[in-house]
């Protein structure tokens, strides 16, 4: 579903993403973790077609993003880390706007769309604010609305940048559950996050990016094994024996890279 080949992005002399190659099959949740400034958002921007790579390619459902951006984007739902939306529209109008942009309302009657939009708003606990202007929404409400809009056209690929920023605990729980259900129904999810617990809870595989390079990749179990091997190689002792959690693993990987 997502094929990334030798993806590189340079800003002048700085290499933000360095030769990244990844393949994410349908129905997988891939977590992308790394310290601030590691290149996560740049990678996500290139996958979602917001930014052109310096070299390399991104394919979404077999469509090259650089060559056919319009067709490739048709299959994507994108959720940015900061919820900037048109403040003068109402929630339902924003959903209508998104659905129209993705041409999904062509195959639906107004009533069908309204039902779909309302059910989407209900999932994200926004139904009571369907006709309120977005400018009166809190940060978390805007974030939830963006999620509802990203899913309104039932995308095959969901690209999410820091999904839980600004959400309350019940919304976080709901979003985690929703991501798992979407993946079960065949949606591919590429998600960057700082919250390692969330990555551990929902991701099938995790990639660790540092200074633009992918320094580790695999399931949580595989990554933990890698960490154990690393530790053994360095003869480090740990109070929990050879059990490491994702946070410790993250610190080990990124710190050893810094050294």
């Amino acid at each position: 579903m997502i094929e990334i080949k030798d993806l590189t992005k340079q800003y002048g002399k700085l290499t933000a993403v360095d030769n990244l190659t990844l393949s994410i099959p349908a129905g997988e949740i891939f977590g992308f973790i790394g310290p601030n400034g590691a290149g996560k958002t740049t990678t996500i921007s290139m996958i979602a077609g917001l930014l052109a790579p310096t070299s390399g390619s991104v394919e979404i459902c077999g469509i090259d993003m650089l060559k056919e951006p319009k067709q490739a984007k048709q299959n994507i739902g994108y959720i940015p880390d900061r919820p900037y939306i048109y403040e003068k529209l109402t929630a339902i109008e924003f959903l209508q706007f998104t659905a129209d942009l993705f041409s999904m309302t062509n195959s639906m009657t107004k009533e069908e769309f309204r039902q779909r939009a309302e059910s989407q708003l209900k999932i994200f606990s926004l139904l009571d604010w369907a006709d309120a202007l977005i400018e009166s929404f809190s940060h978390g409400m805007k974030q939830r609305l963006i999620m509802a809009a990203a899913l309104i056209h039932e995308p095959k690929v969901l690209v999410v940048d820091e999904p839980m920023v600004g959400l309350d605990p019940s919304a976080i729980k709901m979003v985690k559950q929703m991501l798992i259900e979407l993946a079960d129904s065949g949606t591919t999810i590429f998600m960057s996050t700082h919250t390692l617990k969330i990555a551990e809870d929902v991701c099938d595989r995790i990639g660790v990016i540092h200074k633009g390079r992918l320094i580790a990749k695999g399931s949580v179990k595989e990554l933990k094994q890698q960490a154990v091997l690393k530790r053994q190689a360095k003869n480090q002792q740990h109070e929990n024996g050879d059990n490491v959690d994702l946070e410790q693993l993250f610190m080990m990987l990124t710190e050893s890279e810094q050294i």
Binding site: L50, L51, A52, Y84, K88, L101, D131
Partner: protein, 566 residues
Amino acid sequence: MQDIITLLTPRFRSIYNQGRASSGSGGIYKYILIISLGVSFWGGALYVSLRVLRYFSQIEEMGDILAFKLLSMVIITIFSLLIFSNILNALSKLYLAKDLKLVHSMPVHSYRIFLARWIETTIDSSWMVILYTLPVFVGYGWIYSPGISFYLITIISLLLLAIGASEIGSILVMAAVVIVPASRIRTLFVFLGLSLFILLYISFRILRPERLVDPEVFSATLFYFKSMSTPSSPFLPSTWCYDAVLAALKSEILIAYFHIIIALSFVLFVGFIIVFIADMVYFNGVSKAQTSAARLFGSARFRIPFTGWLSSPVRALVEKEIKTFFRDQTQWSQLFLIGALICIYIYNFKVLPLERSPIQTIYLQNMLAFLNMGLAFFVLIAITGRFAFPAISMEGEAIWIIRSCPINLNSFMWIKYFIYLFPLMILTLILIIGTNILLKVVPFMMVLSCINTIFIVPGVLSLGIGLGAAFPSFKSENPAQSVTSYGGLLFMILSALFIGVVIILQAGPVYMILSSQFKSKPLALFDIAWIGISFVGALLICILTTILPVKFGEKRLKKILFDIHS
């Protein structure tokens, strides 16, 4: 005092840092363009002032009265402009700015935050007004040669006038915020716009400038000027400023200082009062302004008519654009302002005493129609600059939606283009046809004006959308002001150039055609060829200007948004 300086630091550091960041090779060209424009405007204003004052100085007895009356009118205009611009700035800086929550969370007294904001408001609202009216005062100094102290007194008087206007503006804004319900604070902009409309219209009609070209009322006008030499109200800060400048002009330095002291005492006294008021009501006002807004035009579901036939992505963008525009109340003040300008513009043609003019009427009517075309197109530039130029920047931080959705940048730009094309076309046609009917022009001029409008509006709009896309400011708190940026200046210069070239290309042929019509003389073959080449040239320029700027804007925007070099 230290707190106030600290609160002001981010603003001035930002200006300094931005200046440093843009001082690369491209930045230098920007500065050269902006400075040379500023200098040429300044020089032009000085030239016009000197011409007018020299003309007045040649009129016996009446000359000085006219010159001093003009000075008084200039100072009253400056004062009203300062108050209005201070009210607008104070409302947004004191109550609606995005960083207010941050500064109010700091351990600083709210009246000190008020003072820091007020200083910023005063500087922002006054520097341009004062800088660009200075040539008028230099003109007076040039003609009357009163000595160097005149300039010193003028600058001090203008500074005191600016501070006084800013104090009055702040008091009015604080009072309005106390009186108006919290949810209606943003609606104040609408009422401000409406009051400006009425003020502009009434003041312009009171002046009745058309009387000056009517010989029959000239004797009455003499009485009018006599009555003008009576002083204005002694309680207005503008009167103290005028008295000080006038005394300095007559080299009565002590009298000038007396008036300056009156102005200074006013500024200091009101200064203490506003600090006192701010301490009592400012913080409560800020809290009120944080409340979510109730709207003049609610968020009730409304459908935009005639969009059903559009493809759904196009319809989405069209509906979003129209709804966003009409729900943004800050736009309404601008709409009222434009309404006022158009009413005044058309009405002035109605009251022109053409039949009493010594020039043959039919020539004058058609000459005025040609001139009117140029003027109406300059109104078009101003309106396009205010609404269409910032159209791309208005997407703001939500531009990620356009970047991530399946729509070409090219389509996105042309959709914006067509949204603005129809209102601008209709507006310009109303201006042109309305004034032409009032001028009773010949059918040829009417047809020519309409054809010109149909070809020039798309060109000017393309420059607006194209350059607006080439120089966007998505992070600006007020994108509507982007027309005062480098890209905006470039838009205005290129649009004026475009209109100038098209009109100049037609001027000769139009004169030929009108002459042959009035003298009933057929056109020579050479003349016909010349007319043909000129009109085809004008048409080609219009077509190129309609296509190329949008393409240029798209290329630049692609580079900015996607980092794609094409």
